[in-house]
């Protein structure tokens, strides 16, 4: 006994050790109980310890509506809604040229710094669908969430909600142009949009601007050319996207949304 008496750390060491352990257990019990403590009007947030042990199950992706599938290319004039994050900056210029060449029209909406967290928590997408009544939506989103931890459980519901907001409209979701391996956003988009509505931009090589993330103008044009090939040949709903003969380089009218999250 003398040996232990001589060698144990002081009493305070154990008091703090017990405090650490006790607090962890208390927060775990509270998390597992599902009880929300309230102080006045403020609800105390859950520590998510339960979620660590029992991660949210990822909901199953919906099937593609038959009205969104064509075997042949639809050559009629489309009204595109071209919407997403800052990656649209240069893409919209080239897309505008495709529209001019093929008789389509487009409305562009850029929400800077946006992610599935933003679009999935509010009705911005639905609002613009109602406003512009497009026949086809091209969504470019995901570059601001390449490295989110536990993204598959954290953001599945938002990605699912975005797909749900499309309703029966034909659409494609252009994935982010990765500069590093992502933590799962591309997998999530693929899972919810399906192979024929997801363009895997991460498979392309880009020349980047100084920020290291956005493709340079010329590189973005080539990116748009690849998206156009996908839209005409591989997408669930195939539309005419003949390459334009000339480069106008004109920026189409664009709605810019301030980079404020909707919460």
């Amino acid at each position: 006994m003398k040996f232990f008496k001589r060698h144990w750390p002081p009493h305070d060491y154990f008091r703090y050790l017990y405090l650490l352990a006790g607090t962890l257990i208390a927060f775990a019990v509270l998390s597992f109980s599902g009880y929300t403590l309230q102080i006045g009007s403020v609800a105390l947030k859950d520590s998510k310890i339960k979620q660590f042990f029992y991660p949210d199950t990822v909901p199953v992706a919906p099937k593609i509506d038959s009205s969104q599938i064509t075997e042949k290319v639809d050559s009629s004039a489309q009204r595109f809604l071209f919407i997403g994050d800052s990656m649209l900056e240069f893409l919209r210029i080239r897309m505008n040229e495709y529209c001019k060449k093929n008789g389509h029209t487009m409305q562009t909406v850029i929400w800077y710094s946006s992610s599935s967290l933003w679009y999935g928590q509010c009705d911005t997408l639905q609002h613009f669908i109602k406003k512009y009544n497009p026949t086809y939506v091209v969504l470019v989103l995901g570059a601001n969430e390449l490295f989110i931890k536990d993204i598959k459980t954290e953001r599945a519901k938002f990605v699912s909600n975005i797909v749900a907001q499309m309703g029966k409209l034909p659409f494609i979701w252009v994935g982010p142009p990765n500069w590093k391996d992502d933590t799962g956003i591309n997998d999530l988009i693929l899972q919810y949009a399906g192979e024929s509505r997801y363009f895997p931009s991460k498979n392309l090589t880009y020349e980047r601007t100084k920020d290291g993330a956005h493709p340079k103008r010329e590189s973005a044009y080539k990116w748009m050319d690849s998206i156009a090939v996908f839209m005409q040949n591989k997408a669930a709903y195939k539309v005419l996207m003949t390459p334009p003969d000339t480069l106008y380089g004109k920026v189409p009218p664009t709605v810019i949304l301030q980079p404020n999250p909707p919460f």
Binding site: H7, Y13, T23, L24, A26, S47, S113, K149, D211
Partner: protein, 492 residues
């Protein structure tokens, strides 16, 4: 619950989930480590083997297979440094030192600066290179500098090479300081391993106080203000000058709370286990000159640069102008240490220029103190104001993703400043403002009062301390963003 997935998450490397001091996983592991440590800490070998093992596991969780690089570097430097120390021939000894430095710095250069060199070579030659896909092992800049300090100290015979390999490896890898400092000197740490570790009750309490303080700074203040700062720095042109200015002040608080919070936690963990890791921050924004700022900011790095770069370059021993040039070069390289980008070089160079200008000022313009008290107070205030805003201004370049965005932000601040934004800003972002003011208030506490605060914490009844800890944890949960934010200095 899938136990296999859970164990995989806990035990194996996940690129997106390093163990962070402010994560639940670390909390759990820390409890386990403290429990085992209590039983073995008085046995030197058992203690060293246990903590070395855990530290390597800690590193493996952050950098995966690159733990082998760390082990390889440690082994290589250990044997070569011992060989160097035994060498009587000065010329050979110097070559051994050079070889040691080349290999150690070579790893850092390869993993951290290859793409930077390729980019600049491409710019100079007009060629085009694809970026090499190189993983940056976490903390490589920190442990490289720690290893080099050991090598230099042994070379200069300021330190005897450590005979016990385990002690030496433990000194390099001790988990609280392994990935983001402080860069601990061997002369401070190794003697602690020779003596029997004694854990004093007061040190345990002070350590816990530091952990709580660090957690509050990092997980409440820094992480909360970072959400706003990230938005503005991503596209400064779309915000008003006032909002940009708030983001710059926000980042000034964020980087201090993030990094000093990490250091506080590291030092606190060390203290609880009976180790002294020194200090790394001492209220830097209270500085009255840029020279003083670098005596208070990232102290372990600035003293490293002073002892192993500035002084060997000649320090202030080779005339005034050479002193200024030495200061400039030292800070230029100090800037580059932070990251492979010209913006860091610029940031460091500007600090170097600031140091040189301050020295010139003290030599030619204001060599003495002002005698009139009101004038001295005004002079002190102006000195603080200028120093603080010089530092704040340079943080823009440190944080912005590119020079263009940094200048865009500065343009917005000076070109579209409208104080009418103050009222709406307060109504929309009042928590941000409260956080900013809280951070400023914490920082404004004079350094001499800090030991008193520590002692007051020690004297406080345990029940109150426990309550404060629980409230703190709930605050962390309450203010956290979607995922645990990594420490800014992890990337360096």
């Amino acid at each position: 619950m899938q136990w296999s997935t859970l164990f995989q998450d806990l035990l194996f490397y996940k690129p997106d989930a390093p163990i962070l001091f402010n994560s639940g996983i670390f909390w759990l592991l820390f409890i386990l480590v403290l429990s085992v440590y209590a039983a073995i800490y008085r046995n030197n070998t058992a203690r060293t083997v246990f903590l070395l093992g855990f530290s390597l596991f800690f590193y493996y969780k952050s950098s995966g297979v690159y733990v082998l690089l760390l082990i390889g570097t440690i082994v290589f430097v250990y044997y070569l440094t011992r060989l160097m120390h035994r060498q009587q021939n000065q010329r050979r000894k110097r070559w051994m030192l050079i070889f040691n430095v080349i290999v150690t710095l070579g790893f850092l250069a390869y993993y951290k600066y290859t793409n930077f060199f390729l980019d600049n070579f491409a710019l100079l030659t007009g060629n085009d290179f694809d970026h090499a896909d190189i993983f940056l092992p976490v903390g490589i800049s920190f442990y490289t500098f720690q290893i080099l300090s050991y090598v230099f100290d042994v070379y200069r015979r300021d330190l005897e090479p450590e005979k016990d390999f385990l002690n030496y490896a433990f000194y390099i890898t001790f988990f609280p300081q392994l990935v983001a400092g402080p860069i601990v000197r061997a002369s401070l740490f190794l003697p602690q391993l020779k003596n029997r570790i004694i854990i004093h009750a007061a040190e345990v309490q002070k350590g816990f106080f530091l952990i709580m303080q660090g957690l509050f700074k990092k997980a409440v203040l820094a992480d909360y203000v970072s959400q706003y700062n990230d938005l503005i720095f991503a596209s400064p042109g779309t915000y008003s000058g006032f909002e940009n200015l708030m983001a710059v002040y926000g980042y000034t608080l964020q980087i201090y709370c993030d990094f000093s919070g990490y250091s506080d936690m590291a030092i606190g963990i060390g203290k609880m286990m009976g180790f002294d890791l020194g200090i790394n921050f001492n209220k830097p924004y209270q500085s009255l000159s840029i020279t003083e700022f670098w005596r208070r900011w990232h102290i372990s790095l600035s003293t490293w640069l002073r002892d192993y770069l500035y002084i060997p370059l000649g320090g202030n021993r080779k005339g005034k102008w050479r002193t200024y040039i030495n200061l400039f070069i030292t800070m230029l390289l100090g800037g580059l240490w932070h990251g492979p980008s010209w913006k860091f070089v610029f940031w460091g160079g500007m600090h170097g220029a600031g140091l040189a200008i301050h020295k010139l000022w003290k030599t030619y313009v204001m060599p003495g103190e002002l005698k009139s008290k009101p004038a001295a107070i005004l002079y002190k205030f102006l000195s603080w104001f200028l120093t603080f805003h010089f530092v704040v201004f340079l943080w823009i370049f440190f944080r912005a993703q590119s020079f263009d965005l940094a200048w865009e932000m500065i343009g917005q601040i000076f070109g579209s400043m409208d104080m009418a934004y103050l009222q709406p800003f307060w109504s929309v972002r009042y928590i941000f403002v409260v956080m900013l003011l809280t951070g400023a208030a914490i920082h404004a506490v004079p350094s001499r009062l800090f030991p008193k605060m520590e002692n007051a914490f020690v004297q406080t009844p345990f029940v109150l301390k426990a309550f404060a800890f629980i409230v703190l944890i709930q605050l962390v949960i309450q203010f956290r963003s979607a995922s645990v934010q990594p420490f800014i200095y992890f990337q360096f």
